[in-house]
């Protein structure tokens, strides 16, 4: 029974830790499926997290903070698009530039506004996304097995967690069942086909990176106003890259990407939970090892051990009409 509780707690934490990864991975998918490499997820997440925390602090509402985060990341997406789509710049360089820019800029503005060494002030309850308790969660708690699953695992998360999980089927539907999705996938495979079909390639790619901006903005806001209670310098700590790896691991498709995010989230949760825990037969698990696991796994996965990931054909290539 104690083990069962441990598992429930671990899975519960998995949902929390994988939420920002899911949102960012979907963001990456929208951008990359249209042919634009989005290495800037890390920096955009950071920018979103800062905007959300700062605005939520001043206004006192997490929702306004969320909108500010999304506005910030759409702005950054447009900047990325301006460099890569309009001016056909190198997409990797543009992405890295945004990451470096945001790492410095969030700290700079943070110090200028709040003078707390780059942090934003701690948010009070009203300025953060609060857990939502499902009806009857308390009374079900003591029902064996199903009780903890319902009241502990499913209930009691903030709204962004639920949005992230609902965003996966929504993204799938948009991608595979709508005109927009068809054109978006086409423009990432063969922009010439889209152009000759009378659809603007540039406009299509901008729309895709804007979608990307909306999603990654939510993941940033989640870090500083839902999971945490303030912005901390470089608080994303590589989550943008992990999300990107999860997307590649998921072969640029929503549900496999979700699975990859959950795996990475689980390892992250395990690292926290296993801190100091003595496992029978193994002894105390060195926490550094568990913390390193997502990264080790990423390297192994990207090295191509589990199936070959075939990226969209036009990924990373600006569209130039040929003569």
């Amino acid at each position: 029974m104690e083990n069962f509780e441990l598992i429930i707690l671990l899975l519960d934490a998995t949902l929390r830790t994988s939420t920002p990864l899911i949102l960012a991975a979907l963001a990456g998918m929208f951008s990359e499926r249209s042919g634009t490499i989005n290495l800037a997820l890390e920096g955009m997440m950071l920018g979103g997290a800062f905007s959300a925390a700062a605005v939520a602090f001043y206004v006192g509402s997490p929702w306004v903070g969320l909108l500010a985060a999304i506005a910030t990341t759409i702005g950054l997406s447009l900047l990325h698009g301006f460099a890569c789509i309009t001016h056909k710049g190198n997409q990797v360089v543009s992405g890295m530039a945004i990451n470096i820019l945001m790492s410095g800029l969030t700290a700079l503005v943070g110090i200028a506004l709040f003078a707390q060494g780059g942090k934003t002030p701690a948010l009070d309850k009203a300025s953060r996304f609060q857990p939502i308790t499902f009806p009857g969660a308390e009374s079900f708690r003591d029902v064996p097995v199903l009780g903890p699953i319902y009241s502990e695992l499913l209930s009691g998360h903030n709204i962004l967690v639920y949005i992230a999980f609902l965003a996966v089927p929504a993204a799938w539907w948009v991608m595979y069942r709508t005109r927009f999705g068809l054109r978006l996938r086409a423009v990432g495979e063969n922009p010439g086909a889209v152009d000759t079909a009378g659809i603007g390639v540039v406009a299509m790619r901008y729309r895709a990176v804007i979608c990307s901006g909306v999603l990654v903005g939510m993941s940033g806001a989640y870090l500083s106003t839902a999971q945490g209670a303030s912005f901390l310098q470089d608080m994303t700590a590589g989550k943008g890259y992990i999300a990107l790896a999860a997307m590649v691991f998921g072969k640029w498709r929503p549900f496999p990407a979700l699975a990859a995010c959950l795996l990475f989230g689980f390892l992250d949760a395990a690292a926290t939970r296993l801190q100091g825990v003595v496992l029978p037969g193994i002894g105390e698990v060195p926490v550094q090892l568990v913390q390193a696991l997502p990264y080790i796994l990423t390297v192994i996965l990207l090295a191509g051990f589990i199936g070959r990931a075939i990226p969209p054909k036009a990924l990373g290539r600006a569209y130039v009409k040929e003569r």
Partner: protein
Amino acid sequence: MSDTMHQMHGTGENGAVHPAIELRGIDKRFGAVHANKEIDLKVDKGTIHGIVGENGAGKSTLMSILYGFYQADGGTIHVDGELCDIKGSDDAISVGIGMVHQHFMLVETFSVLENVILGVEGGAVLRDGVSKAREELERLEREYSLNIDPDAIVGDLSVGLQQRVEILKALYRGAEILILDEPTGVLTPQEADHLFRILETLKEQGKTVVLITHKLREIMAATDNVSVMRQGEMVAHRKTAETSPEELSELMVGRKVLLRLEKGKANPADTVLKVDNLCVDNAQGVRKVKNATFTVRAGEIVGVAGVSGNGQSELLEALGGIRSAAEGSVELSGQDVTPGKGVDAAELRRRGVAHVPEDRHRMAMVTAFTAKEAAILGYEDDNTYQKGALLDWDAISKATANMMAEFDVRPNNPDLKAANFSGGNQQKLVLAREIMRDPELLLVGQPTRGVDIGAIEFIHKRIVAMRDAGKAVLLVSVELDEIMSLADRILVMCDGSIIGEVSAAEANERVLGLMMAGVDPKEAKAVEGQA
């Protein structure tokens, strides 16, 4: 879209029949290049109209302007007598113009149906439009006998079928005028025949077809009228029935051209290249050449025919030493030179094998280099080019100028960037580099791809001169005309295997075409006998 899809095209307001397309004074420059000079063109409704010209004559540019890919600097476009302002592909589609591009504009990971509806989905949610699209597609397939499975993934289809998808795309958008840009470059002769039958059907249904090609045979066989372009100008309009290939080629080049190469009988001597049971795999481990066995003797040209992608490239690359043999052996004048075991391209060059690769830009030269740098590639460690530890640039310049003079490379300037020469002159430079080393064996792939007629004549003469000097030549080409006019013996490859050998005397297009499609040579000849 549906409102424009079935737009009426026909007679003008006073009942007079307008040409389907009329271009007046179309002018277009790309920087210093004047691609189209004051072009006038009339295409009659319900005809197949050919446009011929050498590479770079401006045919594709003109059609791209008509399809809204580029904007003309001057001139007007009239469709059915109406002045049209075509700013983009969507404008062209809305006035009933459809285009089948030389490089297919298809999404390979999509199904046929998805490719067809892209851009005309019929609603924000796909489901609404798809069932209607499926019916319409089936109707079109029946009407024009274009059999194809709407749910097949395009990337899995043969190029011939992919081309049909492109035609269906245009028809689905309500095209009344169909432009085809070099449509037969990737097809077997049989597939090309099928295409021309489809075009005939389209014509019978009242559609207008514009066929861009550099193959005069196709013009003569398939078109009603023909227009000739040369160096950006429209130089002549003819009724196909009233012209001849000789006249058309003269108009294209601006001078008389020998279409049929004059060459004497071959005098084959000792075996130079002996290939035994050679198998070659590609990078993915797929076997691309299967048990190839053949010989090439001194003083003969052996041609390898086949539809592009049937293993010829890998065969040539293996013999050139840039791809290892998986099985089998290769002998050069009795010595083992099986590629892979210590035998690489450099070693083969030392032993007198010259290799002109198929892909000029990717394999034969560095386009960012100057002509003299490109002219020593592969031979840069030759003693005549060294001065101590450094390269002797004076000697190299002199050697390059010599090559350029000998092979008529224009302009004769060793310091000009390779990229700034025309395709024909680049190819002549590569041939000069390889042939002037006086090799025993010349491996040459697609020697005249993207080369204009005048240069083709020259290149062919030089290859025959190699043969007459008692050298062995292995020629890989997807141009049947080229194989038939150059080779003394012809090997046909299909799906990695050499399916048979035909002597030049008994070769004709039908037999070769059937063999290229995988028909056993005996059967192919039998079929030919009945025909």
